[in-house]
C-alpha cells in the first residue's frame, strides 16, 4: 500500500516535471509545478508513514502510548512547511505570470527569450 | 601651367611661371605654418668663385696628371653620342689615353656636347656642367654645336653653343668620326698641359652674360642661377 502511494507520488513528480518541460503556456507550467510539489509532498508523507500506526496527535492517544503507536511526526511537520512554502512559490509564480502577461500580452513562454547568450 | 587655350593665335604675353618654383606653405608638426621658397631654401644660392690658376713645376705636374686622366661624363646630348661608344672598342680604345667614362658629373672633368642641343637638353647640360668640379672642360662635337648645322633654322635647337657654355675644343664635322674625337682629346690634353684650358674660369667670369643668354631661351627656368 505504501509502495503504491510512494510510486504514485513519484509518478506525480514525473508528471509535474513533464508538465513543466513540455507545456508552452505559462499557467500550465505553473500547474505542472504544483503537481510536482504535490507529488513530493505525497512522497514525504509516505516515507514517514508506518503501517498500522496513527496520526501523531496527542489529543487522541496518551503520551505514554504515543512512542509506540504514532507514526513519525517529523515528515508530517515537514510536509506542512513544504506546503506552505509551495503555496508561496506558486503565488509568486502566478504574480510573475500576470506581470509577464501585462508586459507582452501573451503567456507563451517562447516569447520570453529577451535574455540569452 | 599658365597656358592659354582660348585665344587664337596662342601668343603668350607674360613670362613663363613654373609651379615648382612657386612658394608653398606647409604646416609643421607643432602647428606653425612654414613658408617654403623652393629655389632659395633647397638650393645653394652662392655665385661660384674663380679658382686661382697657379703656375710652377708642381702645377705643371698636376696639369699633366689632369690631362692624362680625363673623365668623361656619360651624357649623350644629341645624335653625335653614337660616335662615343666606339671609343671603348678595341679599334679606338680611348683608355690608352687615360680617357674614361664616368656616370656622374661629380666625378667627371670632360663634357662632350655631342651634336645638336635642343633647348630642353640645354637646360640639363647646363645643370650637369655646373655640377662638375673644376677644372672642367667642354668638347663640342659636330657642326650643330658651332653654327646650328642642319638645324640652323629650327625653332627649338640652339645654333651656337659658346653663347651658353664655354667650349674648350670644337670638333667639326657632321658627324665627326671617332678618330676626330680622339684627335679632339689630344688637342684638349695639349691645352691642359699648356695651362690654357681654363674655360671654367671664363664661365665664372662671364657668368652674367652666359646666364642672360641661357635664360633668354629657357623660359621655364626652374633652377638656381648656379647649380652647385
Amino acid at each position: 500500500m505504501e509502495y503504491i502511494i510512494l510510486i504514485s507520488g513519484f509518478l506525480l513528480v514525473l508528471i509535474g516535471l513533464w508538465g513543466i518541460l513540455s507545456q508552452k503556456n505559462l499557467i500550465k507550467i505553473i500547474l505542472g509545478f504544483t503537481v510536482f510539489n504535490t507529488g513530493i509532498n505525497i512522497v514525504m508523507v509516505t516515507v514517514g508513514y508506518v503501517k498500522g500506526k496513527t496520526a501523531p496527535i496527542l489529543d487522541v492517544i496518551s503520551p505514554e502510548e504515543a512512542l509506540t503507536s504514532i507514526v513519525d511526526p517529523v515528515p508530517q511537520a515537514l510536509v506542512l512547511t513544504a506546503i506552505v512554502i509551495g503555496l508561496g512559490v506558486t503565488a509568486l509564480m502566478l504574480v510573475y505570470a500576470l506581470k509577464l502577461y501585462q508586459d507582452k500580452k501573451t503567456l507563451d513562454i517562447n516569447n520570453f527569450k529577451d535574455l540569452k547568450w | 601651367m599658365e597656358k592659354e587655350n582660348k585665344n587664337i593665335p596662342l601668343v603668350k604675353t607674360k613670362t613663363f611661371i613654373n609651379p615648382e618654383n612657386e612658394k608653398r606653405s606647409v604646416t609643421a608638426p607643432d602647428g606653425s605654418i612654414i613658408e617654403i621658397d623652393p629655389i632659395k631654401d633647397y638650393f645653394c644660392q652662392d655665385r661660384p668663385k674663380e679658382y686661382k690658376v697657379r703656375s710652377g713645376a708642381v702645377e705643371k705636374f698636376l696639369n699633366w696628371a689632369r690631362a692624362e686622366s680625363l673623365w668623361v661624363l656619360g651624357f649623350g646630348t644629341g645624335c653625335g653620342s653614337i660616335e662615343i661608344p666606339p671609343l671603348v672598342t678595341p679599334r679606338f680604345d680611348m683608355y690608352r689615353y687615360g680617357v674614361q667614362m664616368r656616370p656622374t658629373p661629380r666625378q667627371s672633368n670632360v663634357f662632350i656636347i655631342s651634336g645638336y642641343l635642343s633647348v630642353k637638353t640645354l637646360k640639363r647640360a647646363i645643370r650637369s656642367y655646373e655640377q662638375m668640379p673644376s677644372p672642367k672642360y667642354i668638347i663640342a662635337l659636330g657642326s650643330c654645336t658651332i653654327n646650328g648645322g642642319m638645324y640652323w633654322d629650327s625653332y627649338n635647337t640652339i645654333n651656337r653653343l659658346d653663347h651658353y657654355m664655354p667650349v674648350d675644343v670644337y670638333i667639326a664635322g657632321c658627324m665627326p668620326r671617332p678618330e676626330a674625337l680622339l684627335a679632339g682629346f689630344a688637342k684638349l690634353k695639349e691645352l691642359i698641359k699648356a695651362g690654357k684650358a681654363e674655360k671654367a674660369n671664363e664661365y665664372v667670369r662671364n657668368l652674367d652674360w652666359y646666364k642672360a643668354n641661357q635664360k633668354k631661351i629657357i623660359k621655364d627656368w626652374n633652377m638656381p642661377d648656379y647649380n652647385w
Partner: protein, 1043 residues
C-alpha cells in the same frame, strides 16, 4: 554580547513592523530597514571580533528549548561569524546603495530585502537541514520578490526562470532531506554527517539528491541559464547582493554538507566546479553586457570555490584559508563591480570608458579587476598561490592546469574590459552622477580588498617578509598625483636613488644582483629624467612607473618564491598601465597582459613544482626540483621568456613598445625586458648543467634564442615605424641574450651579461632619442622624416653611437659581446646556431641603416625645416649612457673581469685576463688597445683628409646630381619606404607572421568555441529547466550509474 538569534528576531520583527507602516512613509521605512541591517551587521561583526581577538569558542544556539534532533539549532563559530559579517555588510551597503530604488518601489521591497539578508544569515548559521531548506526557499522567494518589485521588463522573465528552476531544485532537495531523514533519523546536519548514510543501502541516493540540489543552487555550468539572467536583469545593487551574499551562503551550505557523503563524493564537486569555472569563463569572453559578464564571472568564481571544496581532502588545513581568501576577493570585487555597473549605467562594455572622467573610480575598477584575476596585493593572490602550492604537493597537476587555464580565460575578458575603460573614447551620452550612497559602498569594498590583502599575506608561508615599503611609496605618489610633473619626478627620482643606496648595502657580495639593480634602478633614474620635459600633471604616470620599478626591485630582493612572484606580478601590473598609456596601445597592452598572465601562470606552476619537491619556499628550491623536473624548468623558462619576448611569445612586444609613450618605451624595453633575463639567469644558475632534461631544455632554448634573433632582426628590417623597428630589434637582442645564457659556460654568460648591459644602454638611448624625435616630428613613419642630422646633431651622435654598439663594430662595447659570443659558441660546439646568429647579426645592419638613414640622413622635409634639437632632458640621460658605453668600451676588463670571477664559481673558467687583454683557448682580444689604435688611426686619417681638402663649398640639400634633372620635393627624393624590397623578395618568406597567425587562430578558436557553446543559453525557461533535469540525470548516471 548580543546573541545571534537576535539577527533573526530583529530582522523578522522589523519586517513585520515595516508591513504595518503606511505605504507612503518610505523615509521612515528605509531608516528602519537600514537600522535593522546595521544592527544585524553589528551583531555578526561583534561575534567576529570576539572570535578573532578574544579567541572565543564556537557557540551553539538551541531554539524552543530542545536539543537537536528535536529542535532547530544554530551555530555561531568563527566561520559563521565571518560569513555573516560579510553577508550583512554587503546587505547593509546594498541597502544603502539601493535606498533610492527602494523608496520608489515602496516599503514592501524593503521588507523583502531585510528578509532576504536574514535568510542568508540563517542559511549560514543553521545546523538543521530542513531549516536550511526553508531558508533557501525563503531566499529564493525573496530574490524573485525583489526582482519582481524593483525591476521591470525582461527582469520578469529572468525572475520566472529563476523561480521555476529553484522550484524544481528545492523539490528535489526535499526528497533528499526526507530520504536522509529516513536513513539517519535526524535532521540535524551534525548528526546526519555522523550517520554514515553512505554505508546504508540506498543511502547514496539520498546523498546524491541532496548534493545535486545543493550544487544546482550554486548554478553549475551549464545548468545555470536561469541564474545568469537574474544577474543580468536585476538592479545592479541587488545583483551585487546575490553575487556576494547568495554565493557565499550557498558555498557554505555545500561546505557544511561535505562530510555527509565523505571523501568519495569530493571528486564530483571538483569536476563540476572545474567545468563551471572554465565553462562560465569561456562564456564570459563573448559578453558585451557588463552585468551578464559579471554574472558569468561570479558563477565561475563559485565554480572555483566549489573545486576548492572538492579538493579539501587534499588541501588539508589550508582549505579554509584558500577558500576564504578567494571568496573574500570575489565577494568584495564582485559587489564593487556590480555597484559600479549601477553607477556607470552602460549596457555595453565600451561605455565604461566614462569612468575616465572620474580617475579615482577608474582606479577602483582596476582594483576590482586585478583582485578578481588574483594579482597581488589582494587576498586572492595569496589564496591562489597557496592553492597551487598545495595541489602541487599532492601531485594534482590536472586540477592545477585547469585552475590556471580557467583563470587565464577569465583574464581574457576582464582585461579586455579594463582596456576599454582605460582607452576607448569617453562616451558623451553616459553621465556619472556623484551620489554618496552609491559611491561609499564601492570605496569600502576596495578598501576591504587592500586591508584584507595586507593581513592575509603573513598567513602564507614566506609571505611575511614581503616588502611593502615601495608599495607605500607608490600609494603616496597616488595621493600626490595632483602635483606638477616636475615635483613628482623629483620625488620619484629621489626615492629611487635613496632606495638604490639602501639596496646596495644589502647586496654586498652579489654582483649579479648588483648589476641588475643598476640596470633597474639606475635605468629608472635615467629614464625618469626624460620626464622633466613633460608639462602638466601627467596624471597616473608616476604611481604606475614606480609600481613597475618597485616590482623590479622586489624581484632582486626576493628570497622566497612567493616574494619573487609577488614582485613579478606587481611589475606586470605597473608595466601594463604604463604601456597602455600610449595613444594607440590598447590592443598591444592587452596582448602584453595576456602573455604576461600566461607566463605568470607558467611560473606559478613551476614554482609550485619546486615547492612540492622539498617544501622549501626559498628561491633556492629551484635548485632541486624532483617533481617533473624537465616540465618545471620548461615552464619556468617559458614564464620568463614571455617577458624576454622569445620566439613564439614575442608578438605582444612590437606593438606594446612601439606604441608606448616616448619615455615609457625605454623603460619597458631597456629595463623591463631585463626582468625576464634576470629570471632566466636565476633559473639557469639553480638548474645548472648536467641534468639530462635540463641540457635538452638548454639546447632547445639555444635554438629558440637563435631563431628569435633572426626573426626579430628580420622583422625590424621591414618596419616603417621607427619605434616598432626598435621594438623588433629588442626581440632580436633578447634572443641573443637567451642564446648566450643557454650556452651555460663562463664565456656564454659573460656574453650574456655584456649583451644585457649593452642592450640596456643602447636601447635606452635609442628609445629615448627616437621617441623624442617621434613626438617632435609628429609621426612614427620613418619615411616621413629625414635630414634630421642638420637639425638635431646631438641626437644623431647618440643614435650613431648606439647603432655602432648594436652592430658590434669595434672599438665600441658591442664588439665585446660579439667576441665573447663567438668564442663561446665555438667552445660549446653550437656552430649552426652560431651561424644563424651571425646571419641575424648582419641583418641588424639593414635595419640600423634604415633607421639612421631614414631619420637623420637623406632629405629634410618641408614641414620639418624649422625643427630644433630635442629636449635636453632627453639628451642628458642619453649622454650619460653614452659615457657609460664609452667607459665600458675603453675598459671592458674593469667590468667583465669581476663578472668572470663571479661566474667562475658556477662554471669552469674559460677566460683569463692579462692586464687589458682577454684570452680564451681560441684567441684573444684587447678592448683598450683596439680603442687606442682605432682612435689614433682615425684622427690621423681625418687629419689627412682635412689637409688635402681645401675650399670645400657647403651646399644645400637639393644640390645633388639627379641625372641632370633637379629634385622637386624632398618626399619624392628621400629613399626610405620599403627600401629593402629586393631583400624582401629573396628572404621575405622568413617574415611570414606564422606566430601571429598561430595565436590569432588560437584566439579565434577560443572565441568561436565560446560563441558556439553559449547557444545553449537560448533564453527559453523550459530549456533551462531541462538543463537542470539533464544535469541531475547526467550527474546521476556518472555518480551512481557507473558511467
Amino acid at each position: 554580547m548580543v546573541a545571534p538569534i537576535y539577527i533573526i528576531a530583529v530582522a523578522l520583527g522589523l519586517a513585520f513592523l515595516l508591513g504595518l507602516l503606511k505605504s507612503s512613509s518610505t523615509n521612515l521605512g528605509s531608516l528602519l530597514m537600514l537600522a535593522g541591517l546595521a544592527f544585524i551587521a553589528f551583531v555578526s561583526g561583534q561575534w567576529l571580533y570576539e572570535f578573532l581577538i578574544n579567541g572565543r569558542a564556537t557557540e551553539m544556539i538551541f531554539t524552543a528549548g530542545f536539543k537537536p534532533p528535536f529542535s532547530i539549532n544554530l551555530r555561531m563559530g568563527m566561520q559563521e561569524a565571518l560569513l555573516t559579517t560579510m553577508i550583512n555588510a554587503a546587505g547593509l551597503l546594498s541597502g544603502l546603495y539601493l535606498i533610492d530604488t527602494l523608496k520608489k518601489t515602496g516599503i514592501n521591497s524593503m521588507t523583502v530585502l531585510l528578509v532576504f539578508v536574514m535568510s542568508l544569515n540563517v542559511i549560514v548559521m543553521t545546523r538543521d537541514i530542513f531549516n536550511l531548506f526553508v531558508f533557501l526557499e525563503i531566499s529564493s522567494i525573496a530574490t524573485a520578490g525583489l526582482v519582481l518589485l524593483s525591476s521591470k521588463g525582461n527582469a520578469f522573465q529572468a525572475g520566472m526562470k529563476y523561480l521555476i528552476a529553484t522550484g524544481i531544485i528545492s523539490g528535489l532537495f526535499l526528497i533528499g532531506i526526507i530520504f536522509s531523514y529516513l536513513y539517519a533519523g535526524s535532521l540535524n546536519i551534525d548528526e546526519l554527517n555522523a550517520a554514515h548514510i553512505m554505508d546504508i543501502k540506498g543511502g547514496a541516493i539520498a546523498i546524491f539528491i541532496i548534493y545535486v540540489s545543493v550544487i544546482l543552487e550554486l548554478k553549475p555550468f551549464p545548468a545555470n541559464g536561469w541564474g545568469i539572467d537574474v544577474y543580468t536583469a536585476a538592479k545592479p545593487g541587488f545583483s551585487a547582493l546575490i553575487s556576494s551574499g547568495t554565493a557565499t551562503a550557498g558555498l557554505y551550505v555545500a561546505y557544511k554538507l561535505l562530510p555527509l557523503g565523505g571523501e568519495t563524493w569530493l571528486p564530483y564537486f571538483t569536476i563540476i566546479g572545474a567545468i563551471t569555472f572554465i565553462g562560465s569563463n569561456l562564456m564570459g569572453t563573448r559578453q558585451q553586457n557588463p552585468n551578464r559578464l559579471l554574472g558569468y564571472s561570479s558563477i565561475s568564481q563559485v565554480g572555483l570555490l566549489l573545486m576548492i571544496l572538492g579538493l579539501s581532502n587534499q588541501l588539508g588545513d589550508n582549505t579554509l584559508f584558500i577558500a576564504f581568501s578567494i571568496l573574500i576577493s570575489h565577494y568584495a570585487a564582485k559587489a564593487g563591480l556590480f555597484w559600479l555597473s549601477g553607477i556607470v549605467k552602460s549596457q555595453n562594455l565600451e561605455g565604461w570608458a566614462v569612468l575616465r572622467k572620474q580617475p579615482f573610480m577608474l582606479f577602483l575598477f582596476g582594483t576590482f579587476i586585478f583582485a578578481l584575476i588574483g594579482f597581488p596585493p589582494f587576498p586572492s593572490f595569496f589564496g591562489k598561490w597557496q592553492l597551487i602550492m598545495e595541489l602541487a604537493t599532492q601531485e594534482n597537476y590536472l586540477w592545477m592546469t585547469l585552475i590556471l587555464t580557467g583563470s587565464f580565460i577569465e583574464a581574457i575578458y576582464l582585461f579586455k574590459w579594463l582596456g576599454f575603460a582605460i582607452k576607448l573614447d569617453v562616451p558623451s551620452n553616459i553621465v556619472m552622477k556623484f551620489e554618496w550612497n552609491k559611491y561609499l559602498p564601492v570605496y569600502l569594498m576596495a578598501l576591504t580588498l587592500y586591508v584584507i590583502g595586507f593581513y592575509v599575506s603573513p598567513m602564507v608561508e614566506g609571505g611575511a617578509f614581503i616588502n611593502y615599503i615601495p608599495l607605500l611609496f607608490v600609494l603616496a605618489l597616488f595621493a600626490l598625483d595632483f602635483l606638477p610633473v616636475f615635483v613628482k619626478n623629483t620625488i620619484s627620482i629621489a626615492g629611487i636613488i635613496y632606495y638604490m643606496v639602501d639596496l646596495f648595502s644589502q647586496l654586498e657580495n652579489d654582483l649579479m644582483r648588483q648589476i641588475f639593480a643598476v640596470i633597474f634602478l639606475g635605468g629608472a633614474v635615467l629614464t625618469l629624467m626624460a620626464g622633466y620635459n613633460k608639462k602638466g600633471t601627467r596624471a597616473g604616470f608616476y604611481p604606475m612607473a614606480l609600481m613597475m620599478f618597485a616590482g623590479l626591485t622586489g624581484i632582486i630582493e626576493a628570497n622566497s618564491m612567493l616574494e619573487f612572484f609577488f614582485s613579478w606580478e606587481i611589475m606586470t601590473a605597473g608595466s601594463y598601465f604604463l604601456i597602455i598609456r600610449g595613444k594607440r596601445s590598447m590592443p598591444h597592452g592587452y596582448s602584453y597582459m595576456l602573455f604576461s598572465i600566461g607566463g605568470a601562470y607558467a611560473l606559478l606552476f613551476g614554482f609550485a613544482l619546486a615547492y612540492a619537491s622539498g617544501l622549501d619556499t626559498t628561491i633556492a628550491a629551484l635548485g632541486h626540483i624532483t617533481q617533473l623536473t624537465t616540465l618545471a624548468y620548461t615552464l619556468l623558462a617559458v614564464g620568463f621568456m614571455t617577458k624576454t619576448a622569445s620566439l613564439g611569445l614575442h608578438i605582444w612586444l612590437p606593438g606594446a613598445h612601439g606604441e608606448a609613450e616616448s619615455d615609457v618605451s625605454p623603460m619597458v624595453s631597456a629595463i623591463l625586458l631585463k626582468a625576464g633575463v634576470f629570471g632566466l639567469m636565476l633559473l639557469f644558475l639553480y638548474m645548472g648543467t648536467g641534468t639530462e632534461g635540463g641540457d635538452k631544455l638548454l639546447y632547445v632554448l639555444g635554438w629558440v634564442g637563435a631563431l628569435t634573433t633572426l626573426v626579430g632582426n628580420l622583422g625590424a628590417v621591414f618596419q616603417e615605424d621607427a619605434k616598432r623597428l626598435l621594438a623588433y630589434s629588442s626581440i632580436g637582442q633578447l634572443g641573443y641574450i637567451l642564446f648566450a645564457v643557454s650556452i651555460m659556460t663562463q664565456l656564454g654568460w659573460l656574453a650574456g651579461f655584456t649583451y644585457t648591459i649593452n642592450h640596456f644602454m643602447f636601447k635606452a638611448i635609442l628609445f629615448l632619442v627616437i621617441g623624442g624625435i617621434v613626438v617632435k616630428l609628429g609621426t612614427h613613419n620613418m619615411y616621413e622624416m629625414g635630414g634630421m642630422i642638420k637639425k638635431m646633431p646631438f641626437s644623431f651622435i647618440a643614435v650613431l653611437i648606439s647603432i655602432i654598439v648594436i652592430g658590434g663594430i669595434p672599438p665600441l662595447s658591442g664588439f665585446a659581446g660579439k667576441w665573447l659570443f663567438y668564442h663561446a659558441i665555438i667552445q660549446k660546439g653550437w656552430y649552426f646556431q652560431g651561424a644563424v646568429i651571425f646571419f641575424a647579426g648582419i641583418i641588424a645592419f639593414l635595419y640600423l641603416f634604415k633607421l639612421i638613414h631614414s631619420v637623420f640622413l637623406g632629405q629634410l622635409k618641408d614641414n620639418h625645416r624649422n625643427m630644433k634639437e630635442i629636449s635636453p632632458w632627453i639628451l642628458i640621460p642619453s649622454y650619460l649612457l653614452i659615457i657609460g658605453i664609452m667607459i665600458f668600451s675603453a675598459f671592458p676588463q674593469k667590468i667583465l673581469q669581476p663578472i668572470g670571477e663571479m661566474l667562475s664559481v658556477y662554471f669552469p673558467e674559460s677566460l683569463h685576463w692579462e692586464g687589458t687583454k682577454a684570452y680564451t683557448s681560441l684567441g684573444y682580444w684587447d678592448g683598450t688597445t683596439i680603442m687606442i689604435v682605432v682612435m689614433t688611426a682615425f684622427i690621423l686619417l681625418l687629419g689627412w683628409l682635412v689637409l688635402m681638402s681645401k675650399k670645400i663649398k657647403k651646399v644645400e640639400q637639393f644640390n645633388i646630381v639627379y641625372a641632370a634633372e633637379r629634385p622637386f620635393r624632398p618626399e619624392t627624393t628621400h629613399v626610405s619606404y620599403n627600401i629593402y624590397a629586393g631583400y624582401k623578395k629573396a628572404v621575405g618568406f622568413l617574415v611570414t607572421p606564422v606566430v601571429e597567425i598561430f595565436w590569432d587562430s588560437m584566439s579565434a578558436l577560443l572565441f568561436d568555441f565560446a560563441g558556439w557553446l553559449r547557444r545553449i543559453y537560448s533564453g527559453n525557461m523550459q530549456n533551462y529547466a531541462l538543463h537542470v533535469v539533464l544535469f541531475i540525470v547526467v550527474f546521476y548516471l556518472i555518480a551512481l550509474g557507473g558511467l
